[in-house]
């Protein structure tokens, strides 16, 4: 399937009259606000289903108006300005976060060229040659909101939370930035409409099935890394360390209340929508309908693509929620290690490998030469893997040594041969099963789930 | 989409820089993967072998360079004869300074600290001062710095020059902070150098932007062409030239951009000071010469009076303040400032003669100053180097050999005939005289007479005073320091007695290609 004539290219942008631009701006803005309200409700309902409880179901049909009600409630809460806060920065930080979150969405492609009040215009606010960079720039600037908000609060928890978030976001921004290099390499453009067009479809057909053209399949490692780092970038579970309640209360927004808090919340959810939309655009074929639907000729024209785009975003959001409902939070050092020691080197190696393969494909070498190159690279990698120095594990000290090494004045230790009393619940359960009482791991899987 | 034309790279011309850069990367890897004990010997060998290889590459290239094949890498680099001469000078001076940096016989663990980030005076600090041998990162850092300098003197546009400026400056900032003894003053020196250096880089960058606005390009050829045709805004040209010059004169330690020099020279580990005094000076003047000669040849008459004023100020301030110094390292710092003044006088010759005389001066001064700092590393007591001048009193009685060596070096600094100091000063002053700057020559001679006073005072102190309780002993130098000292002194005397070969070489090389 060749890209259709109605596919927008970079030349199609910048011809809208001002009123169409205005309409589009308002629509994108409204889309994001509605998506946020919806996503909050969606997340709460989905996570509730996973935890076998109803979730919000009071306000409106299926509780759909719950987040709207929450938002209105927040507006009528007291706006607290802590005594030690840096007033101006405290005031401006949520604005930075929110504005950056909104602006990042301006280049997302919703669909092909449609007719709007007689004007041919692409279903996309705008597109520029460096569109994806704009998203990265906005997400980078958004970090300022977080770190400044934490710093300006004049309090310990927000400061640490803000620093943690910024360290986390910049670490995962590197991984995210590297993961989309492969997309640019394959598509040869950084404009979002161009990337969507590049995924339009291949000419290879296997019977009724067209060979996959989505970068999620062609560039699977990039896709996986992008999605993982997107979760880290948006501070979502299992990477929600900045807001680790058990350690940092609320993280950078501990001191925020009322509408300022609401803005941070809004920015976080918009960021989620943005990374999902970017993921859709870069890896999941953008607004194009997936295979079975695409058999219907009208699927990729007119206003329908907006639906496919939104559905794809919602599916990705579902994965976000799913992860939150499933995985426990990582420890901070594990988290940073994962970002720096796994994602980044894996990314770089993947980029080098991909560019090597592509260069080899383009070269006019014959089969033997190519095979030799491939074999040579493989041997080189094996040698590197053999020579790579493995870190020596430090010798494990015995318990007695550890006790001897304690400085004077340490806390007294309980006796090492202390017999742990049996957990009464475990005793009850095992007794009902008429099995001998064991000490150690009590089987509490039958206990009530925490709601 | 337009086709992208790939730049042509002349690898033979770029080889010295590429070799040094590669060697520095290897050094980093050695530091990452080699076992702790093996690092020092490996690093030393790798660095010296790299420098020798780079020097061979320079020599090989020197035979083949022509006006046509000098410019490469899409016009960013011009490996012409002056560039090759300066690169060769930098490599040799760098190698000699590296010998001092690598010396570990004088002090347990060498002149560098193992972990510079440990709080000064803490328990951990005392432990590492006593036991741990110094950081081996100094070798790759030195080589990185040298590779930056090599690029700096060969840069054919301002942007490449700026990148090279940063590449050679950043490792130097770090090296300054790594002294094993007197760590606070060392860290202070590094911070001052860094902050002022960053400031100067910013000036350079602003100037670059303005010159781009003037000429619509950043290569020297383009700037020169625009200045010749009179196209472009002349205010931008002057403002840009002034700002770029500030950045370069800062590195060259010319007054009024010299204030960092005494503190940094004093605080930095002495081997690093020698590297800065010799190599940074070569690089800074190499860059200044290229900017003024290749880029702004056409506005020569406009900038000359200002550079001349700076030269006069530099010579006078350097020499007069040198008189009041009581610390030998600070004394040499002010002497280095005054020498920057003499070099500027040579720069104003504005001819092939000016260029060759400045290059001659840089070689002669570089070797002498390294030898001087080598002696300073030897004069020590229990607290490390004894740099206060009063401590040097009566050194001639304690160890006449090293006192003699230092006397030769000081006489060379003072410009006494039969030393390199005389021939090099003669060269720059005659170049300036030829360029109608006779009054500068008079100021130069007067200031060298002033500057001779502090040198001779040290000589008198060493020989005519009785050694007191406080007079430190001279440590027996290790092989590396001995080698550096011998090279420095021999070249000082050789260039003084028989300057012809070097003069021939410099006048052969004196032709910039932009």
């Amino acid at each position: 399937m060749k890209p259709l004539a109605q596919d927008p290219t970079l030349n199609d942008f910048g011809h809208d009259p001002w009123w169409i631009v205005l309409i589009k701006v308002v629509v994108v803005f409204a889309f994001l606000v509605v998506m946020t309200l919806f996503a909050i409700w969606y997340e709460r309902r989905v996570v509730a289903r996973m935890q076998v409880r109803p979730g919000p179901n009071r306000n409106g049909p299926f509780g759909l108006l719950q987040s709207l009600a929450d938002g209105l409630k927040l507006a009528f809460k007291e706006d607290i300005m802590p005594k030690l806060a840096d007033k101006a920065v405290f005031f401006i930080a949520p604005v930075i976060s929110t504005v950056c979150a909104f602006t990042a969405f301006s280049i997302m492609p919703f669909g092909p060229v449609v007719s709007l009040f007689g004007h041919k215009t692409p279903l996309q606010l705008t597109d520029i040659p460096v569109a994806v960079l704009l998203v990265l720039a906005c997400s980078g600037l958004g970090i300022y909101g977080v770190v400044l908000g934490g710093w300006a609060s004049g309090s310990t928890y927000p400061l640490l939370g803000g620093l943690r978030s910024s360290a986390q976001m910049i670490s995962y921004e590197v991984a995210m930035g590297l993961s989309i290099v492969a997309v640019f390499m394959t598509s040869g453009t950084m404009s979002t409409s161009g990337i969507v067009a590049a995924q339009a479809g291949s000419d290879t057909h296997w019977g009724p099935i067209t060979a996959p053209s989505w970068y999620a399949i062609l560039l699977l490692p990039s896709f996986v890394i992008y999605f993982v780092s997107a979760i880290g970038e948006t501070n979502r579970a299992p990477f929600d360390l900045p807001e680790a309640e058990s350690e940092l209360v609320g993280g950078f927004h501990t001191e925020y209340s009322s509408l300022k808090f609401a803005l941070f919340f809004l920015a976080e959810y918009i960021n989620m929508v943005t990374v999902s939309a970017l993921c859709t655009t870069l890896f999941l074929g953008g607004w194009r309908a997936p295979w079975p639907i695409s058999l219907w000729a009208g699927a990729n024209s007119g206003w329908w693509p907006m639906l496919w785009f939104t559905i794809k975003i919602l599916l990705l959001l579902f994965v976000f929620v799913w992860l939150r409902g499933t995985l426990p939070r990582l420890r901070y050092d594990q988290f940073m290690r994962f970002g720096w020691k796994v994602l980044i080197p894996a990314n770089l190696i993947w980029i080098v490998a991909l560019s090597g393969i592509k260069t080899l494909q383009k070269s006019d070498w014959d089969g033997t030469k190519r095979t030799m190159v491939v074999v040579g690279v493989v041997i080189l990698l094996l040698i590197v893997a053999l020579v790579w120095p493995s870190k020596k594990e430090p010798e494990k000290l015995t318990v007695a040594d550890q006790i001897a090494a304690r400085p004077d004045g340490s806390f007294p230790l309980p006796p090492l041969d202390l017999v742990v009393p049996v957990n009464p619940r475990a005793k009850r359960i095992t007794a009902s099963r008429e099995e001998p009482v064991t000490v150690g791991a009590p089987d509490d899987s039958t206990g009530p789930k925490e709601a | 989409m337009k086709d992208i034309s790939l730049p042509h790279l002349n690898y033979a011309a770029l080889a010295p820089m590429l070799i040094l850069f590669g060697v520095a990367c290897v050094g980093v890897l050695v530091d990452a993967f080699a076992p702790r004990k093996a690092r020092y010997p490996i690093q030393l060998v790798v660095a010296l072998v790299g420098l020798i290889a780079a020097f061979v590459a320079v020599v090989l290239r020197a035979g083949k360079v022509t006006a046509e094949n000098a410019i490469t890498a899409a016009g960013a680099v011009s490996v012409d004869k002056p560039a090759l001469f300066l690169q060769g000078t930098l490599i040799v001076l760098g190698a000699v300074a590296l010998l001092l940096i690598g010396e570990r016989a004088l002090e347990r663990g060498g002149p560098f600290v193992a972990q510079a980030a440990i709080t000064v005076g803490s328990d951990a600090d005392q432990r590492q001062a006593a036991r741990e041998s110094g950081a081996t990162e100094v070798f790759p850092l030195t080589i990185f710095s040298l590779s930056g300098m090599l690029l700096f003197v060969a840069a054919n546009d301002l942007l490449t020059m700026f990148v090279a400026l940063e590449v050679f400056s950043l490792p130097l900032y770090l090296l300054c902070a790594l002294a094993r003894r007197r760590r606070l003053i060392s860290q202070e020196a590094a911070l001052k150098y860094f902050l002022l250096g960053a400031y100067a880089s910013a000036f350079f960058l602003f100037g670059l932007a303005l010159l781009y606005g003037f000429a619509g390009g950043i290569t020297f050829a383009k700037i020169n062409e625009s200045a010749q045709n009179g196209t472009g805004n002349i205010t931008l040209l002057y403002a840009g030239l002034a700002l770029v010059s500030i950045g370069l004169l800062f590195k060259a330690a010319a007054v009024p951009f010299h204030v960092w020099t005494p503190d940094v020279y004093q605080g930095a580990p002495t081997p690093v000071t020698s590297l800065m005094a010799a190599c940074t000076k070569v690089a800074a003047f190499g860059g200044l010469l290229r900017v003024l000669y290749a880029g702004f040849d056409r506005v020569h008459w406009d900038y000359s009076p200002i550079i001349a004023a700076i030269a006069v100020l530099t010579m006078l301030v350097g020499s007069i303040l040198a008189v009041t110094q009581t610390d030998i390292k600070r004394l040499l710092a002010y002497s280095s400032i005054a020498n920057a003044g003499y070099l500027l006088v040579g720069v104003l010759g504005n001819s092939a003669l000016g260029l060759s005389s400045v290059m001659f001066y840089l070689v002669a001064y570089g070797f002498t100053v390294i030898a001087a700092f080598a002696v300073i590393t030897l004069v020590r007591d229990a607290d490390g180097e004894a740099t206060h001048l009063s401590r040097w009193a009566g050194l001639g009685r304690r160890s006449p050999f090293y006192a003699t060596v230092f006397t030769v070096i000081l006489l060379s600094f003072a410009g006494i005939p039969l030393t390199s100091g005389f021939t090099s000063k003669f060269a720059v002053f005659s170049a300036a005289g030829g360029g109608d700057q006779s009054w500068l020559v008079i100021v130069g001679v007067v200031s060298s007479m002033i500057l001779a006073f502090p040198y001779l005072r040290v000589v008198v102190m060493m020989w005519l005073s009785e050694p007191g309780e406080q007079t430190p002993s001279v440590s027996l130098p290790g092989m590396l320091t001995s080698a550096a000292l011998v090279i420095g002194v021999v070249i000082t005397i050789f260039v003084g007695v028989a300057p012809q070969p070097l003069l021939h070489l410099t006048s052969e090389a004196a032709n910039f290609i932009r």
């Binding site: 970079l10 009259p17 001002w18 701006v25 803005f29 507006a75 007291e78 706006d79 802590p82 005594k83 030690l84 005031f91 949520p94 604005v95 929110t98 979150a101 909104f102 602006t103 301006s106 705008t126 597109d127 520029i128 004049g154 309090s155 310990t156 928890y157 400061l159 640490l160 620093l163 910024s166 910049i170 921004e173 590197v174 930035g177 290099v181 492969a182 390499m185 040869g188 209360v249 001191e255 509408l259 300022k260 609401a262 050092d333 940073m336 290690r337 020691k341 770089l348 090597g356 592509k358 260069t359 383009k362 | 989409m1 086709d3 992208i4 990367c25 980093v28 890897l29 990452a32 993967f33």
Partner: protein, 121 residues
């Protein structure tokens, strides 16, 4: 009259800024105000607050290291993007140059890794 493709970005930016500024500006007037000294103190879990000094206190030097590493890699990415976009036109030369570039950054990366710069604690 048509507008430059950058104008809509400014438009969305302006609308978002208006909305956000309006929200933070009206927040003190819409909500109630009930004075309570404890409310204005820095938040701590029930203990006497140890507020940060004005302008922020000292925090682990580790964060600076992360920031520096970020800059190194972000600059690498900035160089990788234009290369990736024009990858198809650059051919073998571009491939080798980029291998060298990535390799150089990798040297620094290996050094930092071995020296424990990537370990938290």
């Amino acid at each position: 009259m048509s507008l430059s493709p950058y104008v809509p970005i400014v438009g969305l930016f302006a609308l978002a800024a208006l909305f956000a500024l309006f929200s933070v500006a009206i927040a003190p007037f819409v909500g109630p105000r009930r004075y309570n000294r404890a409310k204005l103190d820095a938040y701590e879990c029930g203990i006497e607050p140890t507020p940060q000094p004005i302008g922020g206190g000292r925090f682990p030097v580790k964060f600076y290291l992360t920031a520096m590493l970020f800059i190194v890699f972000d600059i690498e990415i900035i160089f990788l993007y234009p290369w990736a976009v024009s990858f198809n036109q650059l051919g073998v030369f571009g491939f080798i140059e980029m291998i060298l570039f990535i390799g150089t950054v990798f040297v620094a990366y290996a050094y930092v890794w071995r020296r424990g710069g990537l370990d938290w604690d």
